[in-house]
């Protein structure tokens, strides 16, 4: 499709030109980087390793209203995102983008989820190829890569003075046409530089795991002692799951303010005991051993059995942020050995 380039100092102009869209881009606050809606183009940054919170929050927010109601009446007012909210998401890392194509399968399964799907359809995803993968990245082991294009609509490469923009799908035409003169045309030399950048980035990825056989093996380790080694030091917090781009579990709760109410859904995690706790007090996963096992097995066995793809993209967040050094690569490696 098209090849363009954007001079780095023109990025704010470029964002400003996209006024037909809601633009989302990474914003730095101290050392944390997170996607936010951009009102002031100077706040956006494309100079980051990866965001702390993956861009899944743009399609599947931490908390979202499903519908509103008045407690005294029986009127229900759905809050499905409207078709009007066209979005451009700038600067998605290719691993996080790949996560969308995995989670799409779940939210599109059987009963399609209108909230997620509407946002997904209305969003134009503009990726940002990795030049410097972080030390715990292992995307290449899961079919991704520093410049993996699936399911992006366009991708940016940082080539020093400027970004090279390669459009991939028809959807990206809409935003390219509205970007105006912030974009310059590019050609074969930029394309070649981009390929080189992707190649050199790929070589910098140190960590790997061979996933063959894992989905078949994990169920046989159901009662295995090796889960205890990891769960013994697990805190049972939600970091690994909340920050995972493919984790999609949620809780639904009703909230009322005087007579106004809403039913909302919010992120939930299989690492919390109350996640599976029955009203009777029985808990099918009573300790962290079962919960750790479920998290890993769900990603590497249950999800692939059901949806045909491993629910992990190798972004390395669960390793980077784990306070007690539970390293999913190490767990998987061990699971192959025992």
């Amino acid at each position: 499709m098209g090849d363009y380039k954007i001079l780095k100092e023109k990025v704010p102009d470029f964002i400003k030109a996209l006024d037909k869209f809601e633009v989302f881009a990474p914003v730095k606050k101290g050392d944390t980087v997170r996607f936010e809606k951009i009102d002031d183009p100077s706040r956006a940054t494309l100079d980051f390793s990866n965001t702390n919170v993956p861009p899944k929050e743009l399609m599947f927010p931490e908390t979202e209203t499903l519908f509103r109601y008045r407690v005294v009446s029986t009127e229900i007012e759905p809050k499905v995102p409207s078709d009007e909210e066209k979005r451009v998401v700038l600067g998605i890392r290719p691993c996080d983008a790949m996560a969308f194509s995995i989670v799409d399968r779940l939210f599109g399964w059987d009963f399609p989820d209108p909230y997620y799907q509407k946002r997904r359809e209305n969003s134009i995803l503009v990726g940002l190829a990795c030049a410097e993968p972080c030390s715990n990245c292992f995307c290449t082991s899961l079919g991704g890569g520093p410049a993996n294009e699936e399911p992006l609509d366009a991708i940016l490469y940082d080539l020093g003075e400027f970004y090279y923009l390669k459009t991939i799908t028809d959807k990206s035409e809409a935003f390219v046409s509205s970007a105006g003169d912030a974009l310059e045309s590019a050609g074969d030399s930029e394309r070649a530089q981009a390929t080189e950048l992707a190649g050199s980035a790929e070589k910098k990825i140190k960590r790997t795991i061979k996933t063959e056989g894992i989905p078949e093996k994990l169920p046989s380790l159901y009662d295995h002692e090796f889960w205890t080694q990891y769960s013994n030091r697990c805190l049972g917090c939600g970091i690994c799951t909340f920050l995972c781009p493919t984790c999609h579990c949620f809780d639904i709760q009703d909230e009322i303010e005087a007579f106004d109410g809403r039913r909302a859904r919010m992120w939930d995690t299989c690492m919390f005991a109350e996640y599976t706790l029955h009203a009777s007090g029985h808990n099918p996963r009573p300790t962290r051993k079962e919960r750790t096992r479920n998290r890993i097995s769900h990603k590497y066995s249950y999800f692939p059995t059901k949806f045909g793809v491993i629910a992990c993209v190798g972004c390395g967040r669960c390793i980077n942020f784990c306070p007690v050094n539970i390293d999913i690569i190490d767990v998987l490696q061990k699971s192959k050995e025992v």
Binding site: T65, R68, K79, E257, D260, R262
Partner: protein, 143 residues
């Protein structure tokens, strides 16, 4: 802040002293400001400091806790515990940026109807100055 602002204040009054004090103020036809909505508790020691936070969250502009004078507690020592907790919670809220005038505590005995009136007047005028509590109030944002 506009002068028409009428604050909502939740008052947690102990059953044995302060509630009786408020009652005395009422029966002796002392006029006190109607901004304080009273919740009767058995002892000021019953007031979990999270009640304060929860009240502020649910729309109160100020919170008043009132109990027996130290040494006079019906349960002997409930108000001593309440005092420690209150002072710390007060400091914590102040550190988060809540105006310290919003949260107050007083000792009002069953015979101090007049003092109760003064306490109410003080907290109402303080909270009026502080303005509406909108820092971490539950609002229907993005509902």
């Amino acid at each position: 802040m506009s002068n028409d602002f009428e604050p909502n204040i939740i008052g947690f009054l102990c059953n044995w002293c302060s509630y009786a004090g408020a009652d005395l103020a009422g029966t002796s036809r002392t006029h006190y400001l109607p901004n304080v909505k009273i919740i009767r508790v058995m002892c000021s020691g019953r007031v979990n400091p999270l009640f304060i936070v929860n009240a502020l969250q649910q729309g109160a502009d100020g919170v008043l806790i009132s109990g027996c004078h130290p040494g006079d507690c019906h349960y002997l020592e409930g108000n001593y515990f309440a005092r420690r907790r209150f002072v710390l919670m007060h400091k914590l809220l102040e550190h988060v940026g809540v105006d310290p005038r919003r949260v107050q505590m007083s000792w009002v005995s069953a015979s101090e109807g007049a003092k109760f009136k003064d306490v109410v007047e003080k907290i109402v005028s303080d909270v009026k100055e502080a303005g509406p509590m909108d820092q971490f109030r539950r609002r229907q944002l993005n509902w």
